[in-house]
Subunit: 209 residues, 2 copies
DNA sequence: GGCTCATTCATACGTTCGTTTTATTCGAAC
DNA sequence: GTTCGAATAAAACGAACGTATGAATGAGCC
């Protein structure tokens, strides 16, 4: 038997490749080869390529969702109406990297989320569970309470903006033709930049109708 | 002969399909079928699938880059140091839709850009020209002048944030499991929401080191 | 030893892909 | 009327893909 479980080695390899090449750009053969497993192992352990992706996504998203929920719980325990900055930190922080700075797996995992979120493949869509919906709904009402003047659709736009900004490093990967662009900020700096960026954006006065 | 040039019909079909399914998710067969052309037409007119994508991207990006440059020129003609809000409007506006509100092709085109930007396929990367780099560089210095206290890498982070927020509608496409989420704001509203969102974000004070 | 069951392996199938090749069509130029 | 070149059409190629199948393996247990 392999030094570790074949199943988790498949998950690790798939996480790595899906994050880097997307769903369609990753072949089962590449996954099994990187995992040192047989081609049929994916079919045996997960059933299909789409279910492998779902398993990878669940493994990555679950701790992030848990961290978001815990963060919101902590904020609400301290004050019934947390300020915008705290909400942004609690919501976007785990999205950026659920790990301390310098962790290589953290950046890879955040990239995976973005890749999946933006993947046009149909199989990459149905992987969020009720837990993710519930947490998002709770943040939505918390933000609505902190920003009472904001119209519902503008608030919704801004919530999606948070997710989009998390994609910043992903955009950069494909957009580095300029010679003068500095290296993208490393994990921890990007996280702090994002929080100030998003806090200001969320706190903006409503757009005039 | 077809009612219009086969070449442009191929470009139209490819623009539509690339925007919707990404590079790898779009087959030459689907493009030629939608265009009402023969399978070999892509090879004849463009040489390869990758060059077809490049041609599509160039056709979409060129007017946007031109609009961005014209907008910056107009701002600089009026004042040597335009305010952040005007810079955001001039830079992000054409990205959202180069067309007046309600234009269907505009939304599709902006989606195409985002899809290409986020596509992990290698062939989707080398399509920006020196014109795009030059315009981006000019905006970078204009923003730097308007935000002198910002460190270079944080400014760079925020510039990428602008691009990311343009992707908001893309994120939404794959993230609509929630029942209570309102319909995404239609083109013109999204554009205005984005400008206020991004103006506030760009104007945020620097992150403490 | 003999049996079971979970796993791994090698292999093959059918499909789809991008690309190439060969033929055919069709005006216009001569 | 013939020639020529651009454009289209039809067919085929080799490769890569996801998936299914059936045999081999090997530990645990009677």
């Amino acid at each position: 038997m392999a030094p570790t479980d074949t199943r988790t080695q498949l998950l690790d390899a798939a996480e790595h490749l899906f994050a880097e090449r997307g769903y369609r750009g990753t072949s089962i053969r590449a996954v099994t080869e990187l995992a040192g497993a047989n081609l049929a192992a994916v079919g045996y352990h997960f059933g299909s390529k789409a279910e492998l992706l779902a398993a990878v996504a669940r493994r990555v998203v679950a701790p992030i969702t848990a961290a978001q929920r815990a963060g919101l719980d902590a904020l609400l325990a301290r004050a019934p109406e947390p300020p915008v900055a705290d909400l942004v930190e609690a919501f976007a922080g785990p999205l950026f990297d659920g790990m301390p700075a310098g962790d290589e797996g953290g950046a890879r995992r955040s990239r995976l989320i973005v890749t999946i979120l933006g993947d046009p493949a149909e199989e990459a869509r149905s992987w969020t569970g009720p837990a993710e919906d519930a947490v998002r709904e709770r943040y939505l009402t918390a933000f609505r309470r902190a920003l009472p003047d904001l119209a519902p659709d503008e608030l919704w736009f801004r919530m999606r903006g948070i997710l989009a900004v998390t994609a910043v490093d992903r955009v950069d990967v494909h957009n580095r033709p300029s010679p003068a662009c500095p290296a993208p900020a490393p994990g921890e700096a990007a996280r702090r930049y994002a929080v100030t960026f998003l806090t200001a954006a969320m706190s903006a006065p409503p757009t005039a109708p």
